[in-house]
């Protein structure tokens, strides 16, 4: 991509995380192309970027669709580092995937070293209510514990698909504005953070 539009247009980098098979790619493709993919094909690392209009402002959203499988756990760090916002997805029909969100959350926080990183807890496959294993209450309890929003989506019916991406982008945008205002102290912050980490280690 040429650098000129990138310079003028805001670019929000979203990373999809979550266990394998919860519907990260399905959500992404539904958002990007209004397309529901039925057949399951494990993702390695996919990249999507398109222009969207966010509250009247034309911005670019960059989605990194990561692998859910444990095989790729080692390389997640690298990906997470570049993320500006995270959609942590689990399947409401699979408790394990819900439990795994804890691990992802921790890894993100460790890599980003930022408690307030834009983050959404997403319970996917809301169309399969009859197979629900994770209660709404449990999910909401966890989101409150983390201090993040919880949204239930369905990549199949497109329920809340746009909502989660746009909500996350809004968070990222407001976060960026925040950062800009405190841009002067940013480097120091980071240095501090690093130092802190070293001390911990």
């Amino acid at each position: 991509m040429s650098k000129k539009p990138g310079a003028t247009q805001a670019l929000h980098k979203v990373i999809m995380v979550g266990s394998g098979g919860v519907g990260k790619s399905a959500l992404t493709l539904q958002f990007m192309y209004d397309e529901f993919v039925e057949d399951y094909e494990p993702t390695k690392a996919d990249s999507y970027r398109k222009k969207v209009v966010l509250d009247g402002e034309e911005v670019q959203i960059d989605i990194l669709d990561t692998a859910g499988q444990e095989d790729y756990a080692a390389i997640r760090d690298n990906y997470f580092r570049s993320g500006e916002g995270f959609l942590c997805v689990f399947s409401i029909t699979e408790d394990d995937s819900f439990q795994a969100t804890q691990e992802f959350r921790e890894q993100i926080l460790r890599v980003k070293n930022d408690e307030n990183i834009p983050f959404l807890l997403v319970g996917n496959k809301s169309d399969l209510q009859e197979k629900r294993k994770v209660s709404l209450a449990d999910a909401q309890a966890r989101s409150q514990q983390w201090g993040v929003p919880y949204v239930e989506t369905s990549a199949k019916t497109r329920e809340n698909v746009d909502k989660v991406f746009f909500d996350l982008m809004r968070e990222i945008r407001s976060r960026k504005i925040e950062d800009k205002s405190a841009s002067n102290g940013r480097g120091k912050d980071r240095a501090k953070r690093k130092k802190k980490k070293c001390i911990i280690l």
């Binding site: 991509m1 650098k3 790619s25 493709l29 990007m32 192309y33 397309e35 993702t43 390695k44 690392a45 996919d46 990249s47 999507y48 970027r49 398109k50 222009k51 670019q60 960059d62 990194l64 669709d65 080692a74 390389i75 690298n78 580092r81 570049s82 480097g187 980071r190 240095a191 690093k194």
Partner: protein
């Protein structure tokens, strides 16, 4: 132009070359053909691109390295852009990576950070400054770097590593603070490594010492081993290794040898497979020959010749030789087959074509023609042989049948019907038919074959010089057929079979005419047909003549029809009918000209023959009539009795009638025959002449001897009349004398004449009987017959009178009255000669002595005339004639009357 394609998604976003990549975006082409370009990181991937939809393309990445755009180009939207990038990398193979390639593991042991079992990918991405690289998407242009540092490199592992290059390449956008932090990080790392080693040793002195001890122990052990086993323990090992190597080599050699063999076999097999066509050729040829697929064989052969004709390969040559051998056999077989007969034209043509294609030597087409001709000749000969042989074998049958047929008279109608009875056909007829069939079947083929030979349709080099031999072949074949048929027809066949033959031959002729054969050839059959036609005609006439000759059996003597002058039997009309029919039949069959046939009776010689034939009809009829007329003579002779006066015994003719046969007497037969003859001469003959003329036959009147009793009927007529007269006249006249002197009467006795004497009455009565007899048959004969009898009577009377020695006066009266009355009564049928005889008789008698006597004679005459009025009117007057015929219709009456008046006048 539609909107340009935009790639907005890539899955996965990185991978080694050949990664299956799903490219997503918008306007990626309206259909598969619309997609005309796809590059990933500058590598063209169109070849592997699989267009799925407007939003999706699946492709495989090329051998690219580093980050790059995915550019889709479509016909409708042109070159597009990409919002995402693909990163290609070449996987560095490490010990942790599954790989199909052997990886040397040893150097990895001495890896700088050997203890950290990092995957090479991770290692590569590790930044030595501990800073994130992700933020540095903005690359520092490489050419600028080269400009700045020459042949340096940013690679950490490179010999030409240049820190400046590295920093610019990876961190030119990093803030100074970060760089400082990074430097500190690097220092710390280096320091910790250096520090680490020493402190590590310090912390583990015990175990290090232990290791040292162990090493010393090992050394001692090793030295003792050296003492024990010699200074060089490896020699044994080397030997063992060498041995095992030799062993392994041996094993391998074996295996390799087997492999070589297997390879050789495989090669041979694949070669066979590749040239299966050639190797299977001999078998295929055999198979196809058996099936009759010569075309296939020829095709294959031509192909083989083309492909391997100039081959240098020994094996191929061998196969080719074998193939040539088979083809040679095939040629021979085809040649034989060509000469084999019978074969249809198409088959032969096919074979000829095949042989031409096979490049057979010689001239197969000409051979075919010759063998065709020979076969034609042969089959004709065989035909003749077969039939004639059977004829001679069953000679009894065949000789019997014609005889029996010949003896039974057949009407022409029967002749026609007889044709259908083919099963009983004589052998010769069958023979001709068979020959016709043969010619019809084979000659066209031969001719057509020749035509196609000379017009070059057989794809043979045409030898123009062969045209004459060909013509001769055809001609000789036809001549042979004609001769064979002629010899078959020449023997005495019946007309019906001849006609049948003619029909066969004509049919054949017609079929040949269609062939455009040369005139010379057609004339052979034309001449034969002409002869046959004439033979047919002659046979027909001959047959008819025979039939006519047998007509006498049909005679019933029933008077069937009355014509103007009298009655006839059926025979003349039957005869006429037969002539008409035969002439019609022969006209329809033999004389009528078929296609390409000349008029039959044009030549004078043929006309003469024709005349003869017709004349034979008449003469045979005449013979028949003669036979009929004189058939009763023997019977009549038996009945013959000495002629006695009727006054003593009743005349023969009338006496025997009741107790003997019911048929007519011989005399009547004679009369009827006479009538028939006259009718034939006067009515039938002209009618026949007219009819034949109308039928288109030559004029009969030009025949030789036409004027001098051409039909021999005149002759017969005279003979029959004579016979009749003899029969009637002699007894009649013979009785006069005995009757005259019956009872001792003499002319000089003195008996007063009261009536004419009985002899005169008897003569008169007899005459009336004859008259009646004749008249019943044919009134026109009356004059001829009666005048003759009257003449005889007059002569007899004159003789008798002159013999009288003495007349008494009453005798004079009597005699005069007798003679006068007779001469008066018979005057109507008297010829001048008869009249002179009467006068002579009167002259002999002395004249009446006186007037008284004369008046007595007159009175007597008057009286007798009155008493015998009825008898006399029979012979003289026309009135009784009128009375007789009054019952018949008026037309006839008038004509009859006219006839009688004529007679009277004459």
């Amino acid at each position: 132009m539609g909107p340009p394609p935009v790639v907005t998604g890539i899955s996965p976003k990185e991978g080694p070359p050949g990664t299956r990549v799903i490219v997503r975006g918008e306007f990626l082409g309206s259909r598969a053909q619309d997609l005309i370009g796809l590059t990933i990181c500058g590598c063209d991937c169109l070849l592997s691109a699989e267009w799925k939809s407007q939003n999706k393309i699946i492709a495989r990445s090329g051998p690219c390295k580093g980050r790059g755009d995915i550019i889709v180009t479509t016909r409708s939207g042109g070159q597009g852009t990409s919002t995402v990038q693909f990163r290609g990398y070449h996987e560095t193979i490490g010990p942790m990576k599954e790989s199909a390639v052997w990886v040397e593991e040893a150097p990895m042991q001495s890896f700088v950070w050997g203890r950290r079992a990092l995957s090479p990918t991770n290692y590569q991405q590790e930044d030595p400054l501990g800073l994130s690289v992700e933020g540095n998407e903005k690359k520092f242009p490489e050419d600028e770097l080269i400009e700045l540092f020459g042949d340096g490199s940013g690679e950490l592992a490179s010999d030409k590593f240049h820190p400046g290059w590295f920093l610019l390449q990876h961190h030119h956008a990093t803030t100074l603070d970060d760089l400082k932090a990074g430097l500190a990080y690097l220092r710390r790392k280096v320091h910790s490594q250096k520090e680490g080693q020493l402190s590590f040793l310090k912390a583990n002195v015990g175990s290090v010492m232990e290791q040292l001890d162990t090493i010393v122990l090992l050394k001692e052990q090793f030295e003792s081993d050296v003492q024990k086993h010699g200074s060089d323990p490896t020699t044994k090992l080397e030997k063992a290794i060498k041995e095992s190597m030799a062993e392994a080599n041996k094993l391998f050699d074996d295996v390799l040898a087997r492999r070589d063999r297997a390879d050789a076999t495989r090669n041979a097999l694949s070669l066979m497979q590749r040239y299966r066509f050639l190797f299977c050729m001999p078998v295929n040829i055999e198979k196809n020959i058996k099936r009759g697929n010569y075309d296939l064989v020829i095709n294959d052969y031509a192909r083989v010749k083309n492909l391997f004709g100039n081959t240098e390969v020994e094996v191929f040559k061998r196969v080719l030789v074998e193939i040539d051998e088979r083809i040679g056999k095939l040629r021979n077989m085809l040649h034989k087959k060509l000469e084999e007969m019978p074969a249809t034209l198409d088959e032969q043509k096919k074979i000829i074509r095949n042989m031409v294609n096979l490049e057979a030597e010689g001239d197969p087409a000409w051979d075919a023609i010759v063998s065709h001709a020979r076969h034609l000749e042969k089959s004709i000969t065989a035909c003749v042989h077969e039939h004639l042989e059977s004829e001679s074998a069953g000679g009894d049958d065949s000789s019997k049948t014609p005889k029996s047929n010949g003896s039974t008279p057949m009407s022409v109608k029967q002749l026609r019907l007889y044709k259908n009875d083919i099963n009983n056909a004589p052998v010769r007829v069958l023979c001709v038919e068979a020959i016709c069939d043969v010619v019809m079947e084979q000659l066209p083929d031969l001719w057509r074959l020749g035509q196609s030979y000379f017009t070059g349709q057989l794809h043979v080099t045409v030898d123009i010089e062969k045209q004459i031999p060909f013509k001769n072949l055809v001609l000789s074949g036809m001549q042979h057929a004609a001769n064979a048929m002629k010899s078959s027809c020449s023997s005495n066949l019946e007309a019906s079979w001849l006609l049948y033959n003619l029909r066969c031959v004509r049919q054949m002729y017609a079929s040949l005419i269609h062939l455009d054969l040369p005139n010379e050839a057609l004339d052979i059959f034309g001449k034969f047909i002409f002869d046959l036609r004439f033979q047919c005609m002659a046979a027909l006439f001959k047959q008819t003549a025979e039939n006519i000759g047998a007509l006498h059996r049909k005679e019933t003597w029933q008077m069937e029809c009355l014509y103007e002058d009298g009655g006839i039997t059926r025979l003349p009309s039957l005869f006429e009918e037969m002539i008409m029919e035969v002439s019609k039949l022969s006209r329809e069959t033999a004389v009528a000209c078929g296609p390409r046939e000349g008029p039959l009776l044009a030549g004078s010689a043929y006309q003469a023959l024709y005349h003869n034939a017709v004349r034979t009809l008449f003469t045979s009829f005449a013979r028949c009539l003669r036979q009929l007329a004189f058939s009763g003579s023997e019977d009549a002779m038996e009945d013959e009795e000495p002629s006695v006066s009727q006054l003593i015994a009743s005349p023969t003719g009338y006496r025997t009638r009741d107790n003997k046969q019911h048929g007519p007497t011989w005399e009547q037969c004679l009369l009827i025959s006479l009538s028939n003859i006259r009718y034939t001469l006067n009515t039938v003959l002209p009618r026949v002449v007219e009819f034949l003329k109308a039928q288109g036959y030559p004029e009969l009147s030009t025949a030789v001897g036409w004027s001098s009793d051409w039909t021999e009927l005149e002759n017969l007529d005279a003979a029959v009349l004579d016979a009749y007269l003899e029969r009637r006249c002699d007894p009649l006249v013979g009785t006069i004398e005995p009757s005259m002197y019956l009872g001792g009467l003499e002319w000089d006795s003195e008996v007063e004449p009261t009536h004419i004497r009985p002899y005169a009455q008897e003569a008169l009565a007899n005459l009336i009987a004859v008259h009646a007899e004749v008249r019943r048959v044919s009134p026109s004969l009356l004059k001829r017959v009666l005048s003759h009898i009257v003449e005889t009577i007059a002569e007899e009377l004159a003789r008798l009178m002159s013999c009288v020695t003495k007349f008494g006066p009453s005798g004079i009266i009597q005699a005069r009255a007798d003679i006068t009355l007779l001469s008066k009564a018979l005057s109507r049928y008297s010829t001048p000669r008869a009249r002179s005889f009467f006068e002579e008789a009167l002259d002999v008698i002395p004249p009446p002595r006186n007037k008284e006597d004369a008046s007595r004679i007159e009175a007597l005459l008057f009286k007798v005339t009155r008493t015998m009025r009825l008898q006399l009117s029979c012979l003289t007057d026309q009135k009784p004639d009128n009375i007789i015929v009054e019952g018949i219709d008026s037309d006839r009456t008038t004509t009859v009357t006219i006839q009688i008046l004529k007679f009277v006048g004459g």
